[in-house]
């Protein structure tokens, strides 16, 4: 109750008298101080809305890139936690099978690399193989724990003599899908050029013969049916879903 006494003392000390007109003036002045709140109304103006939301999304991407830590690994799981392959959802923006000629498939490598050209699947498979049970998270909100295998993208970048001080790795796909990655994520040890799931060759609907598997990114960043890979400092295209309005970085 000590507090109470102090409050009463304060009250007596601060007591002052004003007439009603002056009291209304004080109220108006205090109300006007809240006008900055009205700035939020800019979001309701159709002309400004798109730009503001783009800025907000850009800020989220910037903050996400700051939060990303190269040494932070995505949680991995026991085999018992795996969803069976037939319960692993198949998600594509267009077709499940873009009809890749698996016999003659090559990955076209270009950009800031010492050894550009056509790479066969066997060349990717000659790199150390990593297998990981990780959670695949879709932007829609669902997730599934799967078993993925492939070469580290960082090993591949090393093999092609990529300039890893470049900013981006971009990919094109057989279904005309396209994506781009920040270099930090491309070099992350869990970022795979994935050619198998559940220790079996990648099936067509899951992106045969080669896809990105990135447990630190949301699903739409993990492009399937890769055909081209480029190391670059300039993004000609950002990504299919990004162009529809999704976040570019979307790191988990």
């Amino acid at each position: 109750m000590k507090n109470e006494g102090g409050k009463n003392n304060d009250r007596n000390r601060n007591d002052r008298q004003v007439d009603e007109k002056k009291f209304r003036q004080i109220g108006r002045r205090e109300l006007l101080k809240l006008t900055p709140v009205l700035a939020l109304g800019a979001f309701a103006i159709p002309k400004l809305q798109e730009g503001l939301l783009k800025k907000g999304l850009g800020f989220s991407d910037w903050a996400s890139a700051r939060m990303f830590r190269s040494g932070q690994l995505a949680p991995t799981f026991e085999n018992a936690d795996l969803a069976p392959l037939q319960k692993f959802p198949i998600n594509g923006y267009d077709v499940d099978d873009p009809g890749v000629d698996l016999e003659h498939w090559t990955l076209t490598v270009s950009g800031a690399v010492q050894k550009p050209g056509e790479y066969k699947l066997a060349q990717v498979q000659s790199l150390p193989r990593y297998r990981q049970n990780t959670r695949h998270i879709c932007v829609e909100g669902w997730d599934v724990i799967g078993r993925f295998g492939g070469a580290r993208l960082s090993d591949f970048l090393n093999a092609i003599g990529a300039d890893t001080s470049a900013r981006y790795v971009t990919v094109n796909c057989a279904d005309d899908y396209y994506e781009s990655l920040d270099m930090a994520t491309a070099l992350h040890p869990q970022t795979l050029l994935c050619y198998e799931m559940y220790e079996q060759p990648l099936t067509r609907e899951h992106g045969a013969p080669l896809r990105l598997q990135i447990p630190t990114k949301v699903g739409y960043k993990q492009a399937k049916y890769l055909t081209d890979l480029k190391v670059t400092n300039v993004l000609e295209r950002v990504g299919y879903w990004e162009d529809q309005g999704y976040s570019w970085f979307y790191g988990l």
């Binding site: 304060d10 205090e30 939060m67 959802p89 829609e140 997730d143 976040s247």
Partner: protein, 238 residues
């Protein structure tokens, strides 16, 4: 400074002898809500509206907490009561206003702590004895307990809970948004699935608070409402 009292006076006509009559005090007013508190309150009320609306639109993309295959939908939230139009649009709103929501939340909490104004709202053990009489008054037509400060014990409990819910909404949100970078948050919540469930549940808890809050605002009338705009409450009950 909250707690400051003003006496509103009315000048009196001169007496028949031409002497100045002392002014009469017609009302008292207390400064209840400091500027920062009011600013945060109104910005956050807009931010919360957007967060809930866009959050529900995001939920519409996968209205379930189970597996994708087979998908068992929990509820079909009508699009008319959601913000953003589609998943991508809703995410733009959600990822923009969350920074406004977090910023005002931080500003509010820091201000309350450093100014000492938190004593006005923080529910502590000293408020416990006053809870039951207030419950009896609100819900069982009991007599009205005398009010000695801005908020009664139940109000303090409600506002303190709301602040805790606000913090939880951000923490559960980060567990869903950044399950790798903040994997420890998801672990605390019982995994990624549970983090999503908690995030959703916290939203409903906040909506529940808001419903009660709005009902009380209506019941307490204009004078009380104005105090959240100007800071000053005329004719306080204490």
């Amino acid at each position: 400074m909250s707690g400051t009292v003003i006496e509103i006076i009315q000048a009196q006509p001169k007496t028949a002898e031409g002497e100045e009559a002392p002014p009469v005090v017609v009302a008292r007013a207390v400064y209840e809500h400091p500027f920062i508190v009011r600013l945060c309150h109104w910005i956050n009320s807009v931010a919360l509206f957007v967060m809930v609306g866009s959050g529900l639109q995001i939920f519409r993309a996968f209205p379930s907490f189970g597996a994708k295959i087979p998908q068992k939908d929990l509820l079909h939230w009508p699009k008319a009561f959601a913000i953003g139009g589609w998943l991508g649009g809703a995410l733009q709103w959600h990822l923009t206003f969350m920074w406004i929501y977090i910023a005002t939340g931080l500003l509010y909490v820091c201000y309350q702590l450093f100014s000492g104004n938190y004593r006005q709202v923080l529910f502590t053990h000293r408020d416990i004895p006053g809870v039951w009489p207030m419950v009896k008054h609100y819900f069982f037509f009991g007599p009205k307990p005398p009010l000695r400060e801005a908020y009664n014990p139940l109000q303090k409990q409600a506002y303190t809970t709301a602040i805790v819910l606000g913090v939880l909404s951000v923490l559960t949100g980060f567990a869903v948004w950044k399950p790798v970078q903040f994997s420890w948050l998801g672990w605390l919540m019982g995994g990624f699935h549970w983090a999503r469930i908690w995030h959703f549940a916290v939203m409903w808890a906040i909506l529940g608070f808001m419903l009660g809050h709005l009902v009380m605002v209506v019941l307490h009338g204009w004078n009380n409402f104005v105090s959240m705009l100007t800071g000053w409450k005329k004719d306080p009950e204490y």
